[in-house]
């Protein structure tokens, strides 16, 4: 009987955390246990637990790196914000989209695009500047961003169009941070594999 494959995304996430032999043994144990339990939910819970413990351990042992990651994130956010405003990418998209879609849909598109374009490169920069600890630092950056956005959203908890657009921007900011960060981690993993 061929082995049942566990959820690929969870396995990929597990592989991002660390490349040492411990992580390989954990991945093997999870794979072996999954053959009996056959529950994707169980597998995801186990992977998230391993990731949480691994992130906690990394942050405890590399607190200076964590501060550096936050500094890189803030600098990259400022740089990306200036570039996006300077190049006027979002204004151009809005200008192109509004005659076709109308004013309101183009506002919705811009509210999604701008934070994605600002937070994505910052995630990429954090991942690429922290190589082996990239995934941990990306998760730290996303968690810090989430905390800031949650505070801002809590003050705007009304069903007005302005607030809905703000929440949309917050969601896309987090999505951009995760996308950029994990793209950087995947790129790092790919270059490490190629080097071996």
């Amino acid at each position: 009987m061929s082995a049942l494959k566990p959820p690929a995304l969870a396995t990929w996430l597990l592989g991002l955390m660390d490349s040492d032999a411990w992580q390989d043994a954990v991945a093997g144990d999870l794979f072996e246990d999954y053959q009996q339990r056959r529950s994707s939910t169980w597998y995801w819970c186990q992977v998230l637990m391993v990731v949480a413990i691994s992130v906690g351990k990394d942050l405890r042992h590399h607190s200076v790196l964590a501060l550096r990651a936050l500094a890189v994130a803030v600098l990259s956010l400022c740089l990306a914000h200036s570039l996006v405003s300077e190049l006027g990418v979002v204004r151009r998209v809005m200008h192109m989209a509004s005659p076709l879609l109308g004013w309101w849909p183009s506002v919705v598109i811009v509210a999604a695009l701008e934070p994605f374009l600002i937070c994505g490169p910052a995630g990429l920069a954090v991942a690429l500047t922290h190589r082996k600890r990239g995934a941990t630092m990306v998760l730290l950056y996303v968690a810090a961003l989430f905390a800031i956005l949650a505070c801002l959203c809590a003050n705007r908890a009304h069903w007005t169009p302005g607030c809905v657009v703000f929440w949309e921007s917050a969601v896309f900011a987090l999505a951009g941070a995760l996308f950029g960060g994990f793209l950087g981690c995947a790129w790092e993993g790919f270059s490490r594999t190629r080097a071996i």
Binding site: A3, A21, W22, D24, A25, V26, A27, G28, D29, L30, F31, E32, D33, Q35, C45, Q46, M49, V50, V51, A52, I53, S54, K57
Partner: protein, 110 residues
Amino acid sequence: MAKREYLGEFEFVVILALLHLGQDAYGVEISREIERRCGRGVSLGSLYGTLERLESHRLVSSALGEATPERGGRAKRYFQVTANGLDKIRESQRALCNMWDGLKQLEVMR
């Protein structure tokens, strides 16, 4: 902050599970042994976190085993209790027995 000298409850359970399993102590088997004997589920993340900590305190040692297809081609990591670990568990056992002694309310359970 003073360095912690005593074993935590879960560390105690993990070392005892390693002693029960002997040569066959690796992640999945250790978690099953704990589940079988204590009736509590153990996540592999917390188990490995504990094993890593015990190894850093030299109470447990580990060695890589063979990679098998039923593990997706990944190697097993086998764990063993060191002489230091045995001393520590005996010390903890003595301390617990001393605490236990003379407690009439708990005599039925023993």
